[in-house]
Amino acid sequence: MKLNVAINGEAKEFDIHPKDMLLDVLRDDGYTGVKRGCSTGDCGACAIILDGKAVNSCILFAAQAEGGKITTVEGIGNPKVPSPVQREMTDAGGIQCGFCVPGIVVSATALIDENPEPTEDEIREALDGNLCRCTGYVKQIEAITLAVKETRKTRGARLGVA
């Protein structure tokens, strides 16, 4: 069967099998920022944004994404042009081995897109599906709090222009 989706703003068509998981389709197409961790929806390393919601791609049938807009970590930013969340994650020391980071960036980005002024409780709730096995979550939550401040500046600027 065919799958038509927009990935990071680019229209794509795939030949898929009904049993395929979206994670495999994305990784096979080169979106390797989407990590395979547990394959059971526990760790969040495979997180993507589908139609505005952060979800686990490892327990999502690819066919369920038909017509959807997908954002992977590659679409959020890159080393040359990092997003505020990505920049603060590195600056605040939220990066350890790096495996969980794409998923955390995805969850945090979906949160800030939807709720530009999250409280710390809201940050913790939005990140409760992203496991870090290196240390913990203190630096990451600090980084996201800083990223919220960062985006506030640009939002302020946009408001100023308007």
Binding site: H17, K19, G41, K53, I59, F61, A63, S107, E125, D128
Partner: protein, 268 residues
Amino acid sequence: MVKTYHRPAKLEEALRLVADENDKNVPLAGGTTLALNVRGVDGLVDMSALGLSYIRLDNRSLRLGAMTPIREIQRSEPVRQAAQGIISESAKNYLTALIRNRATIGGILAAGNFWADLATVLVALDASVTIRGAAERTISLEEFIKNGPRKSLGGGILTEVVIPPAAAGAQCGYSRLAKVETDISIVSAAVCLVLSGKTIRSARVAVGNGSRPIRLPDLEKSMAGQTLSAAADLAARKVPSISAESDIRASAEYRKEVAAVLVKRLLI
């Protein structure tokens, strides 16, 4: 093995596909449980185009479309306002945000994930489920759980969960014990009380034993006319007689004991 994928635009079409005896077609909601085990499934019937994602306040009853994601239920203002917020709070405790964004109320019940605290709370609140087959029927969630999804659904599709308004002046509380926030609860408990002065006029009590909610009608009856502290003593005596199983999270004995503590603490 999964061979086909259907996304019907009409419920009648979905029902026809699910009822087809030649193909083992199963309804697909969020997919977060089904994706983990598709053994014996030939075809997936995606329910996302049937207009079943909604939260409606209807004559003070909450109507939750079967395809409504758990995270939307958690965040919904009418849901937060209902029953002192325990529906919203227990929805928030369903696994993780990444799963809550996909998992749906109808999906988790039809998949038999009765360990969910949300199921405990909904049983305490006397929720019912609407099932569409050849005809439409409504049964209590308690009965749905007792008979199991397969028998209760009878080849039909769960379309709606209805939560009636709590009795006037009812006070509800919910509590859980889990190793970490995102884990399945070891035990959970939900209580709704109507007080008359300092004594209990009526009560509903449900305990999640780690596998499924258990209502305690005998305890509820005996609590009527009692003060809260007398009711707490009754709970301490009667709740440990619930059934419970041992698994990787806790022993049956531990569950029974802690369940009584949770109910007691909800009362005093």
